[in-house]
């Protein structure tokens, strides 16, 4: 466990990543609702972007910790 600034930073990262993931997921749902036949492609794209975001968030967490 880290110091207080570390923990606050981790919290901020998680907030940011959460917002980002929520946006990605929400947009993907919208897109799927609009075009259900393209669900597979949208899901793949969603996972890729989610993974990029995840990598960024984890990178920040680990560099900060």
């Amino acid at each position: 466990m880290g110091t207080i600034p570390n923990l606050v930073g981790a919290g901020l990262i998680v907030i940011g990543a959460g917002l980002g993931l929520g946006k990605i997921g929400g947009s993907a749902m919208d897109a799927i609702a609009r075009q259900p036949e393209a669900a597979g492609k949208i899901q793949t794209a969603m996972i890729i972007i989610g993974a990029l975001l995840e990598g960024l968030a984890f990178g920040a967490l680990i560099l900060g910790a």
């Binding site: 793949t44 890729i48 993974a51 990598g55 990178g59």
Partner: protein, 396 residues
């Protein structure tokens, strides 16, 4: 601790029916062990199972609070070790398992069994040199095992070059052997002709191979060039997946949650990506076409950095996901000890079991998803490196 995962394992095994090769390793007695433990909660929490090492501070255990103990146990689980311990009883000081070979390069090659350390309790004497195991690290020391500590409490003794077959290396070898057997069996079914459909377990593998080819490699790398990278992508996909799944078994293996392993995987991706890159790729990195010259100068270092951040993110993602998964699972199991006063023995076990079951199912998904994402991203990066840019002016 991990024993409580057993119902989860059976459940998921029934659900998925995929991990037939991985058996439930721990005996039933372990479950009863958990119960007796919770009953005698005022005593020290002696429940230590997979990959536990008692290390050099057994006396210190008495002073640790349950919370610290759990923390330490989780750290133990996540770390590598020099012997394959399936179960150990701290009170009795017994360990069920087998030691693995330690290979040191220190004035020549020194190979000896890890049993010489006696789980960190004694100093190993090999050909006149003394080694001591402290916090999973092997230090060179004298006959008494004296350690010079710095102000952080870390030993400053000399560390020999360590190429030991640790538990992770051993698990890797076993997993690789398993993979090899699985896929050569699948390959054998095609010997009688391509229309000879595989049977049994191989039948599950064939669509997975097709999945990697058609969903991961083809769309990301391109129809023309994907074939060259298929061996790498398939191997990495199945290796990561199988390692993740084995990490979920009660054997207490945590290979993909080790930074050295994920670093190696990402490193191979980096090497393959950059060595198969074409002129366009380097052109886009050092002299981005279609942007003004000052921008090119600013973009070049960013793009160069990008070469390394991409595999870095691969490494961190896999490591962090698996580590976090294991930590959460262990933490949820620790509910049994932490909340037994509040919820009672049965209640705490019930809550812990329900949550762990849920998380296990999620982890099962994560095991696949991380293998998929790693392979997907690798193929995406490779695809970026090898693709032909036909319309330079169109998309910049």
């Amino acid at each position: 601790m991990i024993i409580s995962k057993k119902p989860v394992r059976s459940l998921t095994a029934i659900l998925i029916g995929l991990i037939s090769s991985v058996a439930m390793a721990n005996p039933v007695e372990d479950t009863t062990h958990v119960k007796t433990e919770t009953a005698s909660h005022t005593e020290q929490v002696a429940h230590e199972t997979a990959n536990h090492e008692t290390e050099a501070h057994t006396e210190k255990h008495e002073a640790l609070s349950p919370k610290e103990k759990i923390n330490e146990h989780i750290q133990h689980h996540l770390a590598d070790s020099y012997d394959f311990t399936l179960y150990s009883d701290e009170e009795a000081g017994t360990h069920v398992g087998f030691p693995l070979p330690v290979i040191l390069i220190d004035d020549g090659l020194k190979v000896f069994s890890a049993s010489a350390f006696h789980h960190g309790e004694t100093v190993a004497n090999v050909d006149g040199a003394y080694y001591k195991l402290v916090h999973n690290k092997i230090y060179k020391t004298d006959a008494e095992g004296t350690l010079e500590l710095d102000h952080h409490g870390h030993p400053t003794n000399e560390m020999p070059l360590n190429f030991s077959i640790t538990k992770n290396v051993f698990s890797l070898l076993i997993t690789s052997l398993l993979l090899f057997l699985m896929f050569t069996a699948l390959a054998r079914t095609y010997k009688k002709g391509p229309n000879n459909l595989p049977t049994g377990f191989s039948r599950v593998l064939e669509p997975l191979v097709l999945f990697v080819r058609d969903e991961i490699a083809r769309p990301n790398i391109g129809e023309k060039k994907y074939k060259k990278f298929m061996p790498f992508l398939l191997t990495v996909f199945f290796l990561i997946w199988l390692l993740n799944l084995i990490g979920l078994t009660p054997l207490g293996i945590n290979v993909t949650g080790n930074i050295a392993v994920t670093f190696c995987l990402a490193f191979v991706t980096l090497i393959i990506t950059n060595f198969s890159a074409n002129k366009d790729y380097w052109g886009h990195i050092f002299w981005m076409p279609g942007v003004p010259a000052p921008m090119k100068i600013i973009l070049a270092p960013i793009e160069v950095l990008g070469i390394f951040t991409k595999p870095f993110s691969l490494m961190i993602r896999l490591f962090a996901n698996i580590t976090a998964g294991h930590a959460v699972m262990m933490g949820l199991l620790a509910i049994i000890f932490l909340f037994k006063n509040l919820l009672g023995t049965g209640g705490s076990i019930g809550v812990s079991l329900a949550l762990t079951t849920f998380i296990s199912l999620i982890e099962l998904l994560v095991a696949f998803l991380q293998a998929f994402i790693f392979t997907m991203m690798s193929s995406l990066f490779i695809g970026m490196a090898v693709q032909e840019h036909d319309h330079h002016d169109d998309h910049h």
